[in-house]
């Protein structure tokens, strides 16, 4: 039976007066990949940021492994170690070397021993073909390499699930593939993921389930295989058409 990892109930969020998310309800099971699609401004980033406590929400509940999450900065700080997140702008810390970027969390937050953390970091770097770059600074890497490191940095904390927000959107077209392949790999290893992307072919390959958002509402929630061939709503059909030229 499917094992529920995350459940969101009646989530509402507004920026000031402007409501951005309306009554969001969904769940993600362990090992599943949920893809969020929707036009620009529909609230995908906002939703994903609420799941990580980066945005406060006005009402609604989030359950992590069946436990209700009480939104407080202390609670979120603990939870975030179990949630890996990667953003659009490859946000490595420019003042730290690659190795230190990766081990900062394990050493300072999880109090791992330095040599243990570094050994594991090296193994992870190796898995994305970047072991040679451990002692470099982010500025010495290309965008695609930085984004791969950002994924490694999140993985180093052994998260129980991962959030990806348009991680290839600011990459050169030729760099995109390498990053997407890592995500496909993770999916094969049954990492639970919530993914926002505009790469439709990739979304098609990776999605177990698609949530289609518009204006802060879930218009449909459809299994991946079906969504790309036969979406339930006309709006989604139109969206898919506009995306492929």
């Amino acid at each position: 039976m499917a094992d529920e990892l995350l459940r969101v109930e009646n989530l509402n969020k507004a920026y000031g007066d402007q409501p951005v998310l309306h009554d969001i309800n969904f769940e993600v099971n362990t090992g599943e990949v949920l893809v969020l699609l929707g036009p620009s401004g529909s609230g995908k980033s906002t939703l994903i940021r609420c799941l990580n406590g980066l945005e406060p929400y006005q009402s609604g509940d989030i359950y992590f492994k069946g436990d209700h999450v009480t939104p407080s900065s202390k609670n979120w700080q603990k939870l975030r170690q179990k949630i890996g997140m990667v953003f659009q702008s490859y946000d490595l810390f420019p003042n730290l070397k690659i190795m230190d970027n990766i081990t900062l969390g394990p050493i300072k937050v999880q109090k791992q021993a330095k040599n243990v953390a570094e050994k594991e970091a090296l193994a992870l770097l190796d898995s994305v073909d970047l072991a040679d770059y451990a002692q470099k600074y982010p500025r010495e890497l290309s965008g695609g390499q930085k984004q791969r490191i950002a994924i490694v940095r999140a993985l180093a904390l052994h998260p129980e699930f991962m959030l990806f927000d348009e991680v290839t959107a600011s990459l050169d077209p030729e760099m995109v593939r390498g990053v997407l392949e890592i995500m496909l790999d993770l999916a094969k290893q049954k990492m639970t993921m919530i993914v926002v992307t505009h790469e439709m072919n990739f979304a098609h390959q990776i999605a177990n389930q698609v949530l289609f958002l518009e204006e802060g509402r879930i218009l449909e929630s459809t299994p991946g295989a079906q969504f790309f061939t036969d979406p339930k709503t006309d709006r989604a059909k139109e969206f898919l058409q506009s995306m492929d030229f």
Binding site: N52, G84, M85, P94, L104, A154
Partner: protein, 219 residues
Amino acid sequence: MSWSVIVQSLPMFQKGFILTLQMSALGILGAIILGLVCSLSQYFKVPVLKRIVGIYIELSRNTPLLIQLFFIYYGLPGLGLKFSAYVCGIIGLVFLGGSYMAEGFTGGFDGIAKSQIESGLALGLSTAQLTRYVIFPQGFALSVPALAANIIFLIKETSIFTVIAIPELTNTALDLIGMYYKTNEYLLVLIIGYAIILIPLSILLTWLERRIRYGAFGH
């Protein structure tokens, strides 16, 4: 222009020069510390302190150092608060410089990309850890240009110490002019005195600015 007048005055100017350097150094150090404290209390929105700091910054930035010094030196003793001229000078410079430095730091902290802070949070860093590893190193690097400009500005402001009888460079020049009337010579030495401090310093600071920026951001 008489060279012998200039040469004879040099020992006097040397004393003033050293005093200007010493007081600038102390005042600037104090201003940086005060500025950092003020800026952090605003950045982290520390309840009452933030308010007080806000008032202090406005008072300090919108009044001239000269009148600040007059008030501290001639006015405060009326309330029974008396400090020596040197202490008053340093207090004045720290009072004035603190707000400038605070705004310099704040500019740096505000300049940090929001996404940097969020990725720090996403890694589970606590506020203290975030400050230590992300906000401080990057914010400092970003604020260096403003801090450098403030340092130059504060050194120039020490010239106003003359009004509370501190024998720094400007005071020395005005004093010598009053006694021996060699205006051209003494003003020339005065200007050269400031140039000796400020030109190398400004070159040094520009160099430092680049290095720190490169260390933190790589460009």
